[in-house]
């Protein structure tokens, strides 16, 4: 069962990539507005929630770090901790999980319902490729959404982290704090962050669309399929994160 799902998701990912490349100029006046709508749904509309989470995350990470660092006077490591924890690990993973919960779930339910109500066959009946019309905009929207929201999440977390430092009267000037952050970052962080977040978004889109569309569904099966898609989405994100962790270790 596991291997069949992996095979199915892999094939679906390749088909989607092929459709993105092959049909880039097919019906742009219909598809591009849908892509813009999906970018808005998986990006702009989620920004307030992401900023709130970033604010809380900055306080939590810095609050805990400061309480430990104060015991050893090791305030020089605050920047390193922020980069290691927020930029490399927590930021992208949290953004992916939030995206999965907010947009991925909606994807499976929408597509599963459309499948159960024969809307997918209706698209085929009028000669419209369901992958092109339903999947490609969602996958592009989620890929760009996870990438952009992770950037905003990290920036806001770093800023709220300094606010926490300031409120706790830690003797760390803004210039020193941001200098520590800059010193802890390398070009590899930026490159791998971009790759990782795009991979998160792409595969969340693929897994959720696959479960909504790939099999004929009845309405009563949509909830079960949604739960399975979200669980597999989390597993995929953790696996991608592990792959990038190994890349960091060997870089």
């Amino acid at each position: 069962m596991f291997l069949i799902t992996v095979q199915g998701v892999g094939a679906f990912a390749l088909i989607t990539l092929a459709v993105i490349l092959r049909k880039i100029n097919v019906a742009p006046r219909v598809i591009h507005p849908i892509i813009r709508r999906e970018i808005s749904r998986a990006g702009i509309q989620l920004l307030p929630m992401f900023l709130f989470v970033a604010f809380v995350l900055g306080f939590l990470v810095i609050g805990q770090t400061v309480s430990v660092a104060a015991r050893f006077g090791a305030f020089d490591y605050i920047g390193t901790v922020m980069v290691t924890v927020v930029v490399r690990e927590l930021g992208p993973l949290l953004a992916a999980v939030l995206m999965l919960a907010r947009v991925g779930t909606a994807n499976v339910i929408e597509l599963g319902t459309a499948r159960a109500l024969n809307e997918v066959e209706a698209l085929e009946a009028v000669g419209i490729d369901p992958i092109h019309y339903l999947v490609v905009p969602r996958v592009i929207g989620m890929t760009l959404g996870v990438f952009s929201l992770t950037v905003y999440l990290i920036l806001a977390t770093l800023a709220s982290g300094y606010l926490c430092v300031f409120l706790q009267n830690v003797p760390l000037l803004p210039g020193d704090y941001f200098q520590e952050l800059a010193d802890s970052l390398s070009w590899l962080d930026f490159a791998l962050l971009a790759l990782k977040t795009c991979a998160f978004g792409f595969f969340i889109g693929i897994v959720t669309c696959y479960h909504g569309l790939a099999q004929p569904l009845r309405l009563e099966e949509v909830s079960r399929v949604s739960v399975r898609a979200i669980a597999q989405g989390i597993i995929v994100c953790v696996l991608i994160d592990a792959i990038f962790f190994i890349l960091y270790l060997h870089a």
Binding site: V26, A114, E119, A122, E124, A125, V126, G127, I128, D129
Partner: protein, 263 residues
């Protein structure tokens, strides 16, 4: 009639599986030929496989076996390479299957906008004419969730006609309709069959499935029956009513509910 020498649809020993479970055989050894311009009415009780049969006919699901030819070319399913063939055939789903997030007008316009790469406003004139023709103009801005069943089906018909197909396949188009709508549908499909001026006067090949033959009486139609996993041609209405088959008598005489039988 078309100049095309080939039958539009030709089935030889075709086996048809269920859409949700292709291994489950709904019909077998189907031998059927549809000539250009013919109007076929396929009578069948519910759960006899008429939706699967029509979806196979329309190339939406592949036959499980046998030989299916569309306009002389052997076909399994209308994939990307057969897009031109796909667009020659309009399909009306039993439940209309309108896209729930689009209005009636957007549903009808989508095939045109997609295939001609038009902005929503560009195809407006042609779509307005089609909406007028199908009396959908007053509800053009309504989403499917707020439509009565009769009007949903009408919108499904308009969407199927948007690309001006040569062949129209309708899955139980009269099922659950009010009497006024039934009359309108039969009259409109007859006009399409004879050649409607909106479609350039060219006769359209029509295949409609039904669980009640009564509204289809008369006219220049051909009838067939789905029974015991087989397609049984009945001929014209006059020939059909002479049939001794009890199922034909039930479909001609009784309300649909009376002949309902489980799969």
């Amino acid at each position: 009639m078309s100049d095309n020498p080939h039958p539009v649809i030709e089935m030889r020993d075709v086996t048809i599986g269920a859409m949700n479970d292709p291994a489950f055989v709904m019909l077998e050894k189907v031998n059927w030929t549809v000539a250009p311009g013919e109007f076929w009415v396929i009578g069948a009780p519910p759960y006899s496989g008429k939706s699967d049969f029509l979806m196979t006919t329309a190339g939406l699901i592949p036959p499980a076996g046998g030989c299916y030819k569309f306009c002389g070319n052997e076909t399994r399913i209308f994939d990307e390479s057969r897009l031109a063939d796909r667009l020659r055939m309009g399909f009306i789903f039993e439940t209309a299957s309108l896209f729930h997030y689009l209005t009636v007008a957007e549903n009808v316009a989508l095939p045109l906008c997609y295939h001609k790469n038009l902005d929503p406003g560009q195809g407006a004139e042609a779509i307005a004419e089609l909406l007028e023709l199908t009396e959908l103009k007053p509800i053009a801005g309504v989403t499917p969730a707020n439509l009565p069943r009769s009007w949903s089906k009408r919108a499904g018909l308009a969407r199927a006609l948007t690309l001006q197909p040569d062949i129209l396949v309708a899955d139980n188009p009269l099922g659950g309709l009010e009497a006024r709508h039934v009359h309108w549908w039969v009259h409109f499909l007859d006009e399409l069959s004879r050649g409607h001026k909106y479609f350039g006067g060219k006769p359209m090949t029509i295949i409609a499935a039904t669980d009640d033959l009564r509204p289809w009486r008369g006219g220049n139609r051909r009838f067939a029956l789905l029974k015991d996993k087989h397609l049984v041609p009945l001929g014209s209405w006059d020939e059909a009513i002479l049939s001794a088959d009890p199922l034909v008598k039930e479909l001609i005489a009784a309300p649909a509910e009376a002949v309902e039988s489980p799969r």
